[in-house]
């Protein structure tokens, strides 16, 4: 039997094994624990890439957990699925690859960065649980299962944000995130309950086939959209992000960026694959677009006034999420109109999905460079830092690459995705493109401020003994830098092989449903 049919399950099993075996690996000492962390991270990334290749070559992969045969979604005599089904289309596989690369970079970086902490076997266990939760959210075809993986990711992230538990700020950040996250999870659970009550099913494809818009479906839609928008840090529910991103260890923040994308994935899976054309009015697409514009502008203006490097970058995360929300909101707006989809909708979706990979890579790298500065200089305060380019040249180089990419400076990858977003959103409403352009200018301004205050300027006596970070941390940052440069040099390949298949899978609701429910739609 071809073992590759089990790839969807392996993508979840590998990090889960990594999590549960971490305490055992920790018994072997630091070297064994570190080797285990890298081995599992590399293996997870490799399995995700193989799954992506399989999906691109053979179409949507379906995997039935616990069934006699992996591919029988509808047991005999039943017209709807009863088991947990993993459904991996090109969009899911794309997200899994992006997330696993960020997790690998974070793992490399954490090897030495976490040396100052104790209880590292718990750290690696929580880290891999977070990876499992993130990948589970992206691969599952089941709404209740999505909620379970969301909770796994949330609980792991509470522990990781508060991992530096002798810092009151870290515990406070985790506590705030726990409250808002738990309440939003309850809303998601209620929404899933609505579907189960109405359709006796929680499989996304099964519910999507039967879905008819009524009050219960509308309320479920609102609960899902707003809760998942909160989880990815959209304004006005973004307040947890600066606290959580700033207080988590840098390697974890890199992973949290990817995890926020899993929530974004859930949001668009619900809108495109679960509801699709049933959405009816344009209220939800415009709500997402407005959230996107507010996130872009409020996120970046709050970033400009920050004096703490990781908080500044966290506000930029809010701003970048805004671009993606706006672009995919425009795609959703054009969903029912083939002409609009051809004219600007599909371009907006390509821009938004391209921005997902760009954002995860350069934002992950920026957080790692901020962690490197903190590791070497012992401060995150921009008022205190200065002249670090002399003593940390490699970190400075990688910071400049990431900062130029996030600011959308040509020829970097951030420019390409933003160009697609500017041009397509202009066709809908020119002010959307203007807001995106202004945000880009302010992004550049705030990263010029970070570069000038932390890296440039005369050498400061306080930092005369500062040295470059260890090789494993540089390796974590280099991995993301290489991906950014590759995305910059080969945007055509990226669009045709990674982004377009993902965008096509997202708009193909009938294909998503038929992979589980068979034909006869």
């Amino acid at each position: 039997m071809n073992w590759q049919i089990h790839l969807p399950a392996l993508v979840l099993a590998v990090p889960l094994l990594g999590a549960f075996a971490s305490p055992v690996a920790g018994l072997g000492g630091r070297a064994t624990r570190n080797a285990w962390m890298i081995f599992i991270s590399v293996l997870t990334t490799a399995v995700c890439i193989m799954l992506w290749q399989k999906v691109i070559a053979g179409g949507t992969a379906v995997y039935v957990m616990g069934a006699e045969a992996w591919n029988i979604t509808l047991p005999s005599g039943l017209s709807w699925p009863v088991r947990i089904i993993l459904e991996v289309d090109a969009f899911s596989a794309f997200m899994a690859v992006v997330g696993s690369i960020a997790a690998l970079a974070g793992a490399f970086f954490s090897l030495r960065f976490m040396d100052r902490f104790t209880g590292l076997e718990k750290f690696s266990a929580l880290y891999f649980l977070l990876v499992t939760g993130m990948l589970g959210m992206q691969l599952t075809g089941d709404l209740f299962n999505f909620f379970v993986f969301l909770e796994i990711a949330s609980v792991a992230s509470f522990g990781l944000i508060a991992f530096w538990r002798d810092r009151p700020e870290a515990v406070e950040a985790s506590f705030k995130y726990m409250i808002i996250s738990t309440i939003s999870a309850m809303f998601i659970l209620i929404a899933v309950g609505f579907f189960y009550g109405r359709y006796n099913a929680v499989n996304i494809a099964a519910v999507a086939r039967m879905l008819q818009m009524g009050y219960a479906e509308k309320i479920a839609l609102v609960f899902l959209v707003v809760s998942l928008a909160m989880k990815c840090g959209a304004v006005p529910m973004h307040m947890w992000t600066p606290d959580a991103y700033a207080e988590a260890p840098a390697g974890v923040t890199c992973l949290l960026v990817a995890v926020s994308q899993a929530s974004l994935y859930g949001l668009f899976r619900v809108c495109f694959s679960l509801y699709g054309a049933s959405l009816g009015s344009t209220v939800v697409p415009w709500t997402i677009i407005v959230m996107g514009v507010l996130s872009m502008f409020i996120g970046v203006t709050m970033a400009v006034i920050q004096k703490e490097i990781k908080r500044l970058m966290a506000y930029h995360s809010v701003s970048q999420i805004g671009y993606i929300l706006m672009a995919l909101g425009v795609g959703l707006l054009a969903l029912r109109d083939p002409q609009a989809m051809a004219d600007y909708g599909f371009t907006a979706m390509k821009g938004g999905i391209f921005h997902i990979i760009n954002y995860t890579m350069y934002k992950g790298l920026l957080f790692l460079t901020a962690g490197a500065v903190f590791y070497s200089a012992g401060s995150r305060n921009l008022n205190e830092l200065g002249g670090l380019a002399r003593v940390m040249p490699q970190t400075t180089f990688m910071f400049v690459i990431a900062a130029a990419a996030i600011a959308g400076l040509p020829p970097f990858n951030g420019f390409v995705s933003k160009l697609l977003i500017y041009q397509s959103t202009f066709a809908v409403y020119p002010l959307l493109a203007v807001a995106a352009l202004v945000t880009s200018v302010l992004t550049l301004a705030s990263f010029v401020k970070v570069f000038q205050t932390a890296f440039l300027g005369p050498a400061k006596k306080t930092y005369e003994n500062v040295t470059e970070v260890p090789a494993s941390m540089l390796l974590g940052m280099s991995l993301l830098t290489i991906v950014i440069i590759a995305l910059t040099l080969f945007p055509g390949w990226t669009l045709s092989h990674l982004v377009e298949p993902a965008a096509k899978a997202l708009v193909d609701q009938a294909g998503y449903i038929s992979a589980v429910m068979g034909g006869g739609l």
Partner: protein, 112 residues
């Protein structure tokens, strides 16, 4: 692999930009090579001009701190920033309030 990216409204070609940067860099280096070459390191010629004041020994006494960056921008938008900072209260119950309020507003819009 090295093709252009067509947006439907125009196109993007990274290699044209790289060529542009290469030509620009060559021009800059050419202009730089035309400069004077009788500069003497370690003499008064390379002393920092610091507004006719003695140059501080520690770099920490020079430069513009982050708190002062974009002072004019922030001052001009003070009412906006005051409102925005008030919203970011750091109180967990406020966070929950904004979330519930957003759910309520979107629910009204969708249900109407």
């Amino acid at each position: 692999m090295l093709d252009k990216v067509y947006s439907g409204f125009g196109y993007w070609d990274v290699f044209i930009w790289l060529l542009f940067f290469a030509i620009s860099a060559a021009l800059v280096l050419f202009v730089r090579s035309m400069g004077r070459n009788d500069y003497k390191e370690g003499t008064d010629q390379d002393e920092i001009f610091y507004g006719s004041n003695p140059v501080p020994e520690d770099g920490a006494d020079m430069g513009v701190p982050a708190a002062s960056a974009y002072w004019g921008f922030v001052e001009a938008l003070k009412p906006y920033y005051n409102a925005l900072i008030d919203i970011h209260s750091g109180i967990a119950s406020d966070y929950v309030g904004y979330f519930v309020l957003t759910v309520a507003i979107v629910a009204v819009l969708v249900l109407l």
